[in-house]
Amino acid sequence: MTLRLSSALLAAGLLTACGGGGGGSEAGGGGSGGGTPPPTQVTVSGTISFDKPTVRPDNTLDLNQTERLPVRGATVEVLRGSDGSLLATVVTDGSGHYSATVSNTPLRIRAKAQLLKTGSGGYDLEVRDNTAGNALYALDSSQVTPSGASLRVDLNAPTGWGGVGYTGQRAAAPFAILDMLWRARELLQQAEPGLVMPPLDVFWAPGNNGADCEGRPNPVSGDLGTTFYVGGSGLAATGACPATPPGIYVLGDASGDASDDADEFDPSVIAHEFGHYVQDRLGRDDSMGGPHALDHRLEPAIAFSEGWGNAFQGFVLNSPWYRDTFRTGGTAAFAFNIENDSQPFTSLVETGFYSEASVQEVFWDVYDGAGEAGDAIDLGYAAIHAVMRGAIVETPALTSIFPFAEGLAVGHPSQASALRQRLLAEGIDGIGDFAENQTLPIAPDLLPVFQTLTTGVPVPTVSTDRYSDGDSFFASYNRLGARRYFRIDLPNGGNLDLSAQGPVGSDPDFLLYRQGVQQCANFASPCSGLDDSVADGLETASYTGLAPGTYLLEVAECSNLGELCRPGPPLGDTVMTVRMDLR
């Protein structure tokens, strides 16, 4: 790769030399004759584009057949050729066109992989190289010398594909990612004009690969593990693994191995992760993460989060297909149709509030037009967006399909019945944020989804590992029934004692939340519900000065959450008695 890039840069240098060799403006002006002085100003314009591979009918990429697409909304700089100083900054339009009037001087054009706007409707979305000091990608022209009052300079970012492998700089990659960001931004701001989007960096590099750093990403080396999103302040450095700044990290591995995976030309993948950014930064996401798949019975919040991600990519691309390509050149694919029961994986997908497949199908049917069998809903993205920005943020329960359905029905009562029918088809029959009257034929002992605690009344519950699929490390970390939920209403607030009693040898743990915010600062005593309680199976905690409101208590047998909670095999079904007392 180093040699290939060096060659490309050498070629660029030659191009630059040729452009400069055309003579300075003085020499050019002198040749025009007539004694007319050269114009003092020149209008430079042109288009910025990138090459994108076409998609074959089998969902793989064809890098030998590309289409040239405009770079939309990108920052373009006109730089003085002699010293690189900035002459003008403009933004490309929806056709990739730019125009600027600057001093008549040899110049270069630079298109940044950046969508930037300040004020109302503002955003700052950038594509950077995590393996090179987080440098912002920029597409640079060779130097050109104006010969009149106008000058056209078109820039194109090529894929670097040489027929059977990459032989040149992969300049199109950051702009293919930027194009997806542009489309996602358009979708959001059409739904909510004036929306100010928190800054987002997307990190891509040719060296971003599937290896990892002791189970964590290493953005400096490019050992990411996979394409993912991280919010907040990112991940702190641990051991040999450097810190991971917040953003979306995208694989770019096309080194020639069988396991190669590059995602820059997989807009579904980028948009899925962008969906996590939307839910995290513009809404609320209670998902705990962990491995998941279409055939898993998941905890409701991660089922909702991942189903949302899959559906959101469909909204951005206006297609029910999710596509992810693998191997050098994208010659293999994983693809499924969220409209049609995740076809062709129909036979294995789960159905229910605990299934990401069910969630994404409901989302899609709300988004697309009515008229299909079982789908009489037609609300479009704006309605979904409003719920993600409203009811999902405000729910006192979990961010799950339940408050989404409730928020949508309240906002669109004329379609509430159709929505209810669609949910019933997925086995989702609970009502309201707290899923009242939800049935669960596969595991009635895991009902109700949300139990209720009142002062002085012990309530039995069971934490299970029965849906872990034999994953010894994660066990049921994010699976249905490992974590049990309790609603606690404190209309006057107050001081609260909580306890969970399991059998000796069990290790009950719990956490108290209010609208997704954990209530025990630093998980410190006396409010910590995470103590090791194997000796007597009793976990207790005390809270003081809780504000009036509705709280959510999450209770689990620690071993059922896998080795992230405690080493050793999961206990499996563990009956615990949970109690609250107001002091």
Partner: protein, 168 residues
């Protein structure tokens, strides 16, 4: 002894490998588990003792979606862990003859292809294999790509990419 006692279930994150991982460093931070992965699993049967220079036959179990019609499996070439042969068995079982060349944590990586519902689908895989006694931290990494880093006059460094330039 509770390993993550000081961390919230919602506040950590970790391992991915095959999987993709999740993590959350702050009260409102969130790390996605990674992009959706195909419903394919490759697991190691048993716990073979592996040492550098000693060939070993790994018993593997491949789980494909119900109805998958055919499959093939291909391994990456690794100087540290050489795959010298593959034998496909029944019921998703297969045997890989490997020669570990260097002690330390190794990864058996590759790609599985299968046909489902008339479409060709695939999935990369990565399987961790400890080799030898000394478990030195993995040092393998991919060097940063070459390129020109220049100071940008507006907002820090840029990674310069060469445009196909047309001017007139």
């Amino acid at each position: 002894m509770k390993v993550w006692a000081s961390l919230s279930w919602r506040v950590w994150v970790l391992p991915l490998l095959l999987l993709g991982c999740a993590a959350e460093p702050g009260p409102k931070g969130y790390q996605s588990p990674g992009k959706p992965r195909p419903p394919v699993a490759l697991r190691l049967s048993g716990a073979p003792r592996m040492q550098a220079g000693v060939p070993v036959r790994l018993q593997l179990e491949l789980t494909l979606p119900p109805g998958a019609e055919s499959h093939s499996i291909e391994f990456d070439h690794s100087p540290a862990l050489q795959v010298t042969g593959i034998a496909l068995g029944t019921g998703g079982r297969l045997e890989a003859a490997v020669m570990p060349m260097i002690d330390g944590p190794r990864v058996l990586a590759g790609f599985v292809t299968f046909r489902l519902g008339g479409t060709l689908q695939g999935s990369p895989f990565r399987l961790r294999l400890p080799v030898g006694q000394g478990m030195a931290p993995a040092t393998a990494s991919i060097p940063a790509p070459a390129g020109v880093l220049r100071q940008d006059s507006v907002d820090g460094t840029v990674m310069s990419l060469t445009a196909e330039t047309t001017s007139r």
